[in-house]
C-alpha cells in the first residue's frame, strides 16, 4: 500500500505560546486506511490535521499528501485531496439551503452547473438527505447538518476524509447515522482514506489504527485492541478506558475469572457467554 499522508518532523507554535502545539511529530497514513487520532483536549490533534490541510502555517517539518509536497503554492492542490468535516455543524454550513451547501465546494472548483446538479443529488442520496435538499439549516437537526457537511465532501470525491470531532456535538443517534455513512463509504469501490479525531472510544475502536497524541507528540500507535489493552498508556495520555476493559477490571476485583487481554464489547459478550457455559 502506498503512503497517502506523510508527516515528517512537524512543529508548530501558536503565536505567543511557549509550548509548541505540535512537537516534531512524524507519521504515515496508508492509502485506504482508517486512522483515529485520540488524545485529551489541547493535545494537538486538531492542529495536526489542520496543518496537513495547510490551514495552519507550521514552522518546521514537511507534509506530503498523495505525493504532493505541501507548500504555499501547492496548498490548493493538497486541499483538493482532502475533505474536512468540522466539529460544530452550525459553523461550517455555508449555503442558505442544503443543496446550496453541498454545491459550495463544487462551485469553488468551477464545475459546470449541469454536472454540479447531478453530483449534488447523488451525494445527498448517499447520506439519505435527498428529501431535504431545499431546507434551510435552521430547520435541520445537528445530525442532519453533519450529514449535509459529509455530502458536501462526498460530492467533491476526495481521496482523504478528515473528521475533526465531527460527531462530538451530536446525540447518540446522530453519531450513529454519521458513522454508518462513513462505514458505507469504506465499502465503496474507491474507499477514501479516513482520519477521524475523536473522544468517542466506540468510534475509535472502529478504526484500523489508533494514533495517541499527547502534548503535540505521538505517544503510541497501534491497533485499537493493543492501545486499549495498555492501561498505563491510557492513563498517561488522559484517555478513558473502554467499557469492556472496565468490566474486566471489575470482574478481577470481584475475584472472578476475567479475560487476560483486551476484548471489544461484542467479544466480551461472547466471552461471558462461553465462560458461563464452562463454569
Amino acid at each position: 500500500m502506498a503512503a497517502m499522508i506523510e508527516v515528517k518532523n512537524l512543529t508548530y507554535h501558536y503565536p505567543e505560546v511557549a509550548q509548541p502545539a505540535l512537537d516534531h511529530i512524524s507519521l504515515t497514513v496508508e492509502q485506504g486506511e482508517w486512522v483515529a487520532i485520540v488524545g485529551h483536549n489541547g493535545s494537538g490533534k486538531s492542529t495536526l490535521v489542520r496543518a496537513i490541510d495547510g490551514l495552519v502555517d507550521f514552522s518546521e517539518g514537511e507534509v506530503t499528501v498523495a505525493g504532493i509536497k505541501l507548500t504555499p503554492d501547492s496548498v490548493w492542490d493538497v486541499r483538493k485531496q482532502i475533505g474536512m468535516v468540522f466539529q460544530n455543524p452550525d459553523n461550517q454550513f455555508v449555503g442558505a439551503t442544503v443543496a446550496d451547501d453541498v454545491a459550495f465546494g463544487l462551485e469553488n472548483a468551477g464545475i459546470p452547473r449541469d454536472k454540479m446538479i447531478q453530483k449534488v443529488d447523488a451525494a445527498l442520496k448517499q447520506v439519505d438527505m435527498a428529501a431535504f435538499s431545499d431546507r434551510e439549516p435552521s430547520r435541520l437537526s445537528g445530525g442532519q447538518k453533519q450529514r449535509v457537511a459529509l455530502a458536501g465532501i462526498i460530492a467533491m470525491n476526495p481521496s482523504i476524509i478528515v473528521l475533526d470531532e465531527a460527531t462530538s456535538m451530536l446525540d447518540p443517534h446522530g453519531r450513529q447515522t454519521v458513522m454508518d455513512v462513513i462505514t458505507k463509504l469504506r465499502q465503496s469501490e474507491k474507499a477514501p482514506t479516513i482520519i477521524s479525531i475523536t473522544h468517542d472510544l466506540d468510534e475509535a475502536a472502529r478504526a484500523q489504527r489508533l494514533i495517541v497524541v499527547n502534548d503535540g507528540q505521538q505517544l503510541a500507535t497501534g491497533k485499537p485492541a493493543e492501545i486499549f489493552a495498555n492501561e498505563a498508556l491510557l492513563a498517561s495520555s488522559g484517555l478513558a478506558q473502554p467499557f469492556s476493559t472496565r468490566l474486566a477490571r471489575s470482574l478481577a476485583q470481584q475475584g472472578s475469572v476475567h479475560p487476560d487481554h483486551y476484548l471489544s464489547d461484542t467479544e466480551m459478550e461472547d466471552w461471558l457467554w462461553q465462560s458461563h457455559l464452562t463454569m
Binding site: R50, D53, L55, W76, R79, K80, I82, G83, M84, F86, N88, D90, N91, Q92, F93, V94, G95, A96, T97, A99, D100, A103, F104, G105, L106, E107, N108, A109, G110, I111, P112, R113, M116, I117, V120, E136, P137, S138, G152, I153, M156
Partner: protein, 267 residues
C-alpha cells in the same frame, strides 16, 4: 417578540407572485413604491388601493399577515399624519391655537401621507412575504452586476449577504439562549429606567459578539478547507430564470404607471 414581526418575513406559497423572478419582483416593487408618489386625487388613490387589494388576493395569503405587518408601524404613520394635520398652513383655516392649526391643506396632506404610507408598507410586505430571503439576495446580486464595471466586488458582496441571511436564525437562537442564561443568573432585561436597561444589554451583547467572531473564524476555516479562493473562477449552482410571466409583470406595471398618470390629470 421577535417571532411576531411579520415585516420582512417570508411565507412559503405557490402563487403567481411567489413564482415570479426575484429580479423582476425586486425592481417592480421598488418601481411601484416610487410611483405611489404620483397619487394626487381620489381617483388615483382608489385605483392604487384596488391594485394593492388585487395583489394581496394574488398572493393567496391571509389578509391577517398584512394587517399584522402594518401593526407595528401604525403609530409612526399616525404620528406623521397628525404632525402634518396640525402644522400645515394654507387653504381654509378651520381652527387654530398658537402654532397649532387645522386647515384644509393640512387635512388633505395628512390624509395623503396616511394613505401613501399604507400603500408603501403593504407593497413592501407583499414583496417580503412572497420572496424567500435567499431569492431577495439573488435579486440584489443581479441588480448589482452592472457595478462590476467600476470594480465593485459583486460576488463577495453577494456571498456576504447570503451568509448573513443564513446566520440570522442561528444568531437569534443564540441571543435567546444567552438572554435566558443571563436571566437565570439574575439579569433583568425588562425592568428599570433607560440607563439600567442599557446596562442590562451589555451581558447580552458581549457574548453575542464574541460568539459571532468565533463562528466567523470557524466558518472561514471551513470555507477555505472546501476550496474557497474568492469570487473569481466560481460557477453557480443557483440561477435565476426569466419567464414570460415576468415580462407580463413588467408590462402590467408600465400600464399601471400610464393609468396613474392619466388619472392624475383628470379632474
Amino acid at each position: 417578540m421577535l417571532e411576531q414581526l411579520t415585516l420582512g418575513r417570508y411565507v412559503p406559497g405557490q402563487s403567481i407572485l411567489h413564482r415570479l423572478d426575484s429580479r423582476a419582483k425586486l425592481l417592480l416593487s421598488l418601481y411601484l413604491i416610487v410611483i405611489v408618489f404620483l397619487t394626487s386625487n381620489w381617483l388615483t388613490y382608489v385605483f392604487m388601493f384596488i391594485l394593492v387589494g388585487g395583489l394581496i388576493a394574488m398572493t393567496g395569503l391571509k389578509v391577517g399577515y398584512f394587517i399584522r405587518g402594518i401593526g407595528p408601524l401604525i403609530w409612526l404613520i399616525v404620528f406623521t399624519a397628525v404632525l402634518q394635520l396640525l402644522f400645515t398652513p394654507g387653504g381654509h383655516v378651520y381652527w387654530h391655537w398658537g402654532v397649532l392649526m387645522l386647515t384644509s391643506t393640512g387635512i388633505a396632506t395628512a390624509v395623503s401621507v396616511f394613505l401613501r404610507f399604507l400603500l408603501i408598507i403593504t407593497m413592501a410586505t407583499i414583496l417580503t412575504l412572497t420572496t424567500a430571503p435567499l431569492a431577495i439576495a439573488d435579486g440584489v446580486e443581479a441588480m448589482l452586476k452592472p457595478l462590476r464595471i467600476v470594480h465593485f466586488p459583486v460576488a463577495q458582496t453577494a456571498l456576504m449577504l447570503s451568509v448573513a441571511l443564513r446566520f440570522v436564525p442561528t444568531l437569534l437562537d443564540e441571543a435567546t439562549t444567552i438572554m435566558n442564561a443571563q436571566r437565570a443568573r439574575g439579569v433583568e432585561f425588562n425592568n428599570g429606567g433607560l440607563i439600567k436597561r442599557l446596562r442590562a444589554i451589555v451581558p447580552l451583547l458581549i457574548p453575542l459578539f464574541v460568539g459571532a467572531i468565533s463562528r466567523a473564524d470557524e466558518l472561514a476555516t471551513a470555507m477555505e478547507a472546501r476550496g474557497y479562493q474568492g469570487g473569481d473562477g466560481r460557477t453557480k449552482y443557483r440561477v435565476l430564470h426569466w419567464r414570460s410571466a415576468d415580462t407580463m409583470a413588467v408590462i402590467s406595471v408600465l400600464i399601471i404607471n400610464i393609468v396613474l398618470v392619466v388619472f392624475r390629470h383628470l379632474n
